[in-house]
Amino acid sequence: MLLFLVGHAIASACLSLLLTSALPRRVEVRRRSCLALFFSFSFFIPVLGGLGMLSALIYFRFFQRFDERTEFSSVPMSPFMHEAGAPAPGMGEGGAWSRLRAVNLPRQIRIKALLAVSSGGGQNASRLLQLATSDNDDEIRLLAFNLSDRREKVISASISESLAALRSAKGTEERAPLYRTLAFSYWEMIFNDLATQDLAVFFSRQSLSYARQALETGGNDASLLVLTGRLHLLQGDFSEAERAVTAALEHGAHRDRVIPYLAEIAFRQKNYSGLKRFFETDPLLRHKPGIGPVVKFWMG
């Protein structure tokens, strides 16, 4: 009996050692515990335990390649990307702002920040360029001026072309689309913060005037009605703004686009319960980027 037990113990130990040596490297630190577990299986469950462990050995050794799998894997660049050179590092808007505001940074870094911001569009870029035109560094100031001028030039060219076409246009059919383009082009200047203060007031008047003429000659157009509403809102004429935006809704403007303006009009009139009612009519708004957090704030 003793001889059997000793022989069984030796056989179990050999099997356990064999299995332990086949373990993947990443469990190396707990090797003794594994050895003890394997041994107890073999010793106390003589046949089934041994067979089970042998099957495990065969499976893990020949079918599971733990060693070849790394903890972090990455997809290699495609050959096309290699040919195109390293991907452009770029710079986020926040990073660019902070670099540009740090007057002690080397000029080259600040110029890079300026170029990064200008490669995007929108109000923030225009504001930053405007800020940079009053920078103490000549180079920064001139580059900012140039970049700002380029943005403005595109919209100005569109206005000039439309005005020239309007002079030679005959009949309302030709004029209506030009009025529409002019309304949106003047608005673009305000929207992109390329016209501020008194100039913005002038541009909003121009935009509104052309939008009205476009509506009169070209019939109701949901986008133009939304624009009209926004212009009235900008000018502080809330009742006209509400009328235009509601009309836009009636003429097919998408709810998601219109409700935020109606809510803003209600807010500006201090009608907070009205504001909530508007948000209630469109539950999906809370998931939209931009307006989503505002809806969540008001609706809880």
Binding site: A88, A113, T133, L142, D149, S156, A157, S160
Partner: protein, 502 residues
């Protein structure tokens, strides 16, 4: 073809790029003043221009003491060397290769061998124009540099950019070689004129004096940023939005190197105000050679205009300057739109030639129309300021870059207050520089660039308050009479010319 005065030698050879006598402007007026201010000196002048067709007739009557005038056009020349297969001078190309290696380091300068005119003219001693254009080594060198440095995918664009950029160097070397002797060279800018001056200085061992009105390299930067003809062929994946295009950068570095070469050769480097002097030193000028001489004007010519006394300021804002982007005429027009909201009868006069950048001039007119002030903005072409000032309420300068503008001094002498951007010496002129000057008071208003709101606010402040306007007018007259006279400027140049001619 004009008949230019010719001589065998001169005392002072002026090196002029894109200014007198073909192009009107502040620098040209200054050159005209200087020549006439020293009637005992025999002047010569080399006019450096882009292409002959870009310039019309002479815009100035030539002073009698300008005894020699010749032109040097950098592009569009007819005589090109015959295409001939050649290998090229290996040693000379090695020198060029070394030079380009130094361009990778901060503050590079031209190698000694390239200071010798023979390097550009003699195929045995250096790289002549034919070798540059047609030799195998030249091709290999350009191809190699493209592979090593250029991040733009188009080799064709790179090749022609390099060719067009460098060709003027051989034109200038040819001009330097054929130029009549002079005892002193006086370049009125860096750039190509400054490079020619440096070549002349090194080859003839005569002193070079440099007077910089604006900072040439800075103004070229503005042009290069503004230009649409410089290509960027990189696709969206290759383009780094934080980098300017390779060719723009290449052009800027080229002009910076020319500037540094000229600073190195000049015995005295004159700027118009302290800020410009500091900038010159930053760009490589030796501080001990850099000095400031402000512009001065003939007060007596403008003083009689003060007799046209107005109880209230005339509602005319005049911008005197070329209609080009650097003058930012658009901000003036936008500002006028805002002023017209408060003063519907206000007028804006733009006095200056439009032929330098007709596209920009068209954009300015279109802007006036889009702002619905086309009846109030008048583009009047070039006119003598004497005819304009009596009806002007304010002179406005909306430029994004200036030196020390003569038009401000002229307006001051005529008793016209000025609203100007805070560039160059404008603040110094309007607000004063130093305790004595500042005590005189403000001669108008100062604003940031590209800020029509501020332009309108400053203009309205003066136009709406006759008392303030009169005070500014008086300060303007006092300041120009005390600090910016012809005599003060001529005395300083007299010293420099005497030292140079000695």
């Amino acid at each position: 073809m004009e008949k230019f005065p010719k001589a065998d030698n001169v005392d002072i050879m002026l090196l002029l790029e894109g200014t007198f006598p073909y192009v009107r402007g502040g620098v040209s007026s200054w050159v005209n003043q200087i020549i006439r201010g020293f009637p005992d000196i025999r002047f010569g002048a080399v006019f450096i221009g882009s292409k002959r067709d870009d310039y019309g007739e002479l815009n100035y009557e030539l002073p009698s003491n300008l005894v020699h005038l010749e032109t040097c056009y950098l592009h569009g020349f007819d005589e090109k060397p015959l295409i001939k297969e050649m290998h090229g001078n290996r040693e000379a190309f090695d020198a060029v290769r070394q030079l380009h290696a130094t361009f990778q380091k901060p503050n590079p300068t031209l190698d000694d061998s390239l200071r010798n005119l023979n390097f550009f003219l003699d195929p045995v001693a250096g790289v002549d124009f034919q070798q540059f254009l047609h030799s195998r080594l030249s091709w290999q060198f350009i191809s190699q540099l493209y592979q090593q440095r250029c991040n733009d995918p188009s080799f064709v664009d790179y090749f022609w950019t390099v060719r067009n950029m460098h060709s003027p160097i051989w034109q200038l070397a040819e001009t330097a070689h054929n130029l009549i002797p002079a005892r002193l060279y006086h370049a009125v800018s860096t750039g190509y004129a400054g490079f020619l001056g440096a070549l002349l200085h090194y080859s003839n061992n005569q002193p070079l004096l440099l007077s910089e009105h604006g900072i040439y390299t800075k103004e070229r930067r503005i042009d290069i940023f503004h230009s649409d003809w410089i290509q960027d062929n990189r696709n969206a994946l290759q383009r780094d939005p934080t980098e300017i295009s390779y060719y723009r950068d290449l052009w800027m570095r080229f002009f910076e190197t020319l500037g540094r070469f000229c600073y190195g050769a000049s015995s005295t480097i004159v700027s118009l105000y302290e800020g410009a002097r500091i900038r010159q030193v930053d760009d490589g000028a030796a501080p001990e050679r850099a000095t400031v001489i402000p512009n001065g004007i003939d007060i007596a010519r403008y003083a009689p205009l003060r007799e046209a006394v107005h109880d209230t300021p005339p509602l005319v804002l005049t911008l005197l300057g070329r209609v080009v982007p650097i003058k930012d005429i658009k901000t003036f027009i936008r500002g006028l739109r805002i002023i017209a909201n408060a003063l519907p009868h206000v007028q804006g006069w733009v006095i200056g030639p439009e032929d330098e950048d007709p596209e920009y001039a068209a954009e300015c007119r279109a802007l006036a129309e889009s702002l619905e002030i086309q009846d109030q903005v008048h583009f009047m072409g070039f006119k003598d300021p004497i005819d304009i000032f009596p009806e002007t309420g304010l002179l406005v300068l909306s430029s994004v870059s200036e030196g020390l503008p003569l038009v401000i001094l002229e307006a001051f002498a005529a008793g016209v207050p000025v609203v100007a951007t805070d560039v160059g010496a404008c603040r110094q002129l309007v607000m004063g520089y130093g305790a004595e000057d500042e005590a005189i008071g403000s001669a108008g208003g100062i604003m940031g660039i590209n800020n029509p709101q501020a332009l309108a606010a400053e203009s309205l402040r003066l136009l709406n308050d006759p008392q303030q306007w009169k005070q500014a007018r008086q300060a303007a007259i006092t300041r120009v009479e005390r600090f910016y006279t012809y005599q003060q400027m001529f005395d300083r140049y007299d010293e420099l010319y005497k030292a140079g001619l000695a």
